[in-house]
């Protein structure tokens, strides 16, 4: 039997198919304007691609900001719990998860059994998240995916504003004063890394540290975070699916006899 985890994020919806504790399939789509529709599509595509009938799926668990919209889900669990479970599954030595997504950033501290012992997340604004980088990249007429390449050899400029609105004017000012796109790109990535490091220091950094979420794919961020925290930061090719894996695991756990999970 299968369990499915669907993580409906603000930017990307991720789906994971699991059986016997092993990830057997993944799928993702841009969330777009309708989290409900996209959640449904990711589920349908995921099952179709792996030739799994809906009847073979015992539990569907939704997480992410759009979780409440998913009618097909048997359970809805917050992405904080799911990120902890997912990261612990990928690497049982993980005690701190750094997650930077499309519109929020969070740090989750795990206990010895992979349970959440503390977490911190950004306030209502999108400072230091994927959205922040997107807005700034647009300002410089480049794509977010190009920022890393641009930044690679440059010396980062100091950006003083973390607020997306203020930072946008700051970038305009920097461009006007002749700063290179490359140094601004490096500055932007560095400021996003600084933000998550400050959050991490508030809850306390305990090794191993795992970097998840959409921005975990940006190697430059990982490098700066490692420098700032002074500890190695672990990664996985499944990093973006961490929440969805945690959701699917929660589905499997709830299939087990009561009490076993404890």
């Amino acid at each position: 039997m299968y369990a499915v985890g669907i993580d409906i994020g603000s930017t990307v919806t991720k789906g994971v198919l699991m059986t016997d504790g092993i990830v057997t399939g993944t799928h993702r789509l841009p969330t777009g304007w309708s989290p409900r529709e996209t959640g449904r599509r990711v589920l349908a595509d995921l099952l179709a691609r792996h030739q799994v009938c809906p009847g073979e799926v015992q539990q569907i668990v939704a997480t992410g900001y759009g979780r409440q919209t998913m009618e097909e889900a048997h359970r809805k669990i917050t992405e904080i719990t799911c990120h902890a479970r997912g990261a612990y599954h990928i690497n049982a030595a993980v005690r701190t998860v750094l997650d930077i997504g499309g519109q929020d950033s969070k740090v989750v501290r795990l206990g010895d059994r992979g349970q959440v012992v503390d977490f911190i997340m950004n306030d209502k604004c999108a400072a230091g998240t994927g959205r922040f980088l997107q807005v700034m990249a647009t300002q410089m007429e480049v794509d977010v995916s190009q920022l890393e390449e641009l930044a690679a050899e440059a010396k980062p400029v100091q950006l003083n504003n973390m607020c997306t609105v203020f930072a946008e004017s700051e970038v305009v000012g920097l461009l006007a004063s002749g700063a290179s796109k490359a140094s601004i790109a490096a500055g932007l990535l560095t400021s996003v890394a600084s933000k998550i490091c400050t959050q991490a220091q508030r809850v306390g950094v305990v090794e191993d540290v795992f970097f998840s979420g959409g921005l975990a794919e940006i190697g430059y961020l990982k490098k700066v975070i490692q420098e700032k925290l002074g500890v190695p930061v672990h990664q996985s090719h499944l990093a973006q699916y961490t929440g969805a894996i945690g959701a699917a695991l929660s589905g499997m756990a709830s299939l087990e006899p009561a009490g076993k999970e404890q």
């Binding site: 900001y65 917050t78 719990t81 349970q115 997340m121 306030d123 209502k124 404890q262």
Partner: protein, 385 residues
């Protein structure tokens, strides 16, 4: 039975009290409006006046207040001031005298503006509650407030009247205390939302005797139907102790989110809940001295330092068998915000309980974000079981 029938009557008090205050004012009674748990209502009662709480828990008047006050200020201060300048609070409207106190800087400076609207007396609260010199200072503030009321209202506040007022307010405290302690039962017979309402409404009661009688009736009803109420609550989720800033109707978003998420707020440590009920006024001592001692013992974050709050949290966490502690901070409330660091360490290290701090305002703009945090906090507790 899902909910005691008396709760509806208590909710109706909101409308009834605003009519009663008008009638009392028109009948020539003097009304002393106050904002804070440090305000010695007994002295106003002994002067034959009616002490009432003033409105400050709704988001509606915040916008009006922001025309004069900075936006980056605690919502309680903005709401209080907004109510005052827009005449939306009947208790403020009918108040003859306002009693202010030097708790936090924000309130203190807001009172300076508010003092232009109505006669105001300011009590100078010391910065720390320890030491004989601070008690002496605060005792002198009791004397000054008494003299102010005597001069302004042309009355004589006798020792007997003070003693009588002390007994009355002590009786009210004892009733509210017994009501609060009902939720020490496991499962708790009342929702945290109902408990908050019943506790909060007391400040607006024009007739204290009537208010006490209603609370006694509510307690009786809950006790007589304890089993039915417990059954109706079904399987109880995590039991939460709420500490931090005051909460009333209109600023109850966090209680709502906890209970919608399957948790139950069983203990309200804040000053709109249990904090002011814990210690009674000593009826055997000289009245003003006894009042000074009681009020100065209030464990508020405006004090340097505030160990009493940690002690109270520890005591309540055990008595109410709580599974987690939520510390609520209003945005720009520096004292509670900074103190949260101590509370977090204390709750985690000393009590071994899950802890979360929520910083927010009265608006609904962050309800989605808060729901995520609170749900995740409740999930954390579930997995610990």
């Amino acid at each position: 039975m899902n909910r005691p029938a008396m709760m509806e009557k208590i909710e109706e008090l909101r409308g009834i009290n605003s009519v009663k205050i008008k009638e009392a004012s028109e009948a020539g009674r003097k009304i002393v409006g106050m904002y804070c748990v440090f305000s010695p209502q007994e002295i106003a009662l002994a002067a034959g006046a009616i002490p009432v709480s003033l409105c400050g828990t709704s988001n509606d008047p915040v916008e009006a207040a922001e025309k004069e006050l900075p936006r980056n200020l605690c919502p309680l201060i903005k709401s209080s001031y907004g109510f005052a300048i827009t005449d939306k609070c009947p208790y403020f409207y009918f108040s003859d005298i306002l009693l202010a106190e030097t708790t936090c800087d924000g309130k203190k400076k807001m009172y300076e503006l508010m003092g232009k609207l109505k006669p105001m007396h300011l009590m100078n609260l010391p910065q720390t509650a320890d030491g004989e010199e601070n008690l002496a200072l605060w005792k002198n503030e009791m004397v000054r407030f008494k003299s102010y009321l005597e001069d302004t209202l042309k009355v004589d506040i006798t020792e007997d009247k003070l003693k009588e007022a002390i007994k009355l307010v002590n009786r009210e405290r004892e009733a509210m205390k017994r009501l609060h302690q009902l939720n020490a039962h496991k499962p708790a017979p009342l929702t945290g939302m109902d408990m908050m309402k019943a506790q909060w409404i007391k400040g607006f009661n024009v007739d204290k005797e009537d208010g006490i009688e209603m609370v006694e009736q509510l307690i009786r009803e809950v006790e007589e139907n304890m089993d039915a109420l417990k059954t109706a609550m079904g399987q109880e989720g995590p039991r939460i102790l709420l500490t931090g800033v005051p909460v009333g109707i209109g600023s109850d978003k966090v209680i709502r989110l906890i209970e919608e998420g399957g948790g139950r707020v069983v203990a309200l440590e804040n000053c709109t809940g249990y904090k002011g009920l814990d210690v009674l006024v000593d009826e055997t001592k000289e009245p003003l001295q006894a009042l000074a001692e009681k009020y100065l013992s209030t464990p508020c974050s405006c004090m340097y330092d505030n160990q009493g709050r940690l002690d109270l949290i520890a005591r309540m966490a055990a008595e109410y068998q709580v599974d987690g502690v939520l510390d609520l901070t209003w945005q720009a409330c520096h004292t509670y915000n900074i103190e949260s660091f101590f509370v977090r360490d204390f709750v985690r290290e000393e009590l071994g309980l899950p802890f979360i701090q929520i910083e927010t305002d009265y608006s609904e703009s962050d309800a989605g974000q808060l729901k995520l945090r609170i749900d995740a906090f409740l999930e954390t507790i579930d997995t610990k079981a």
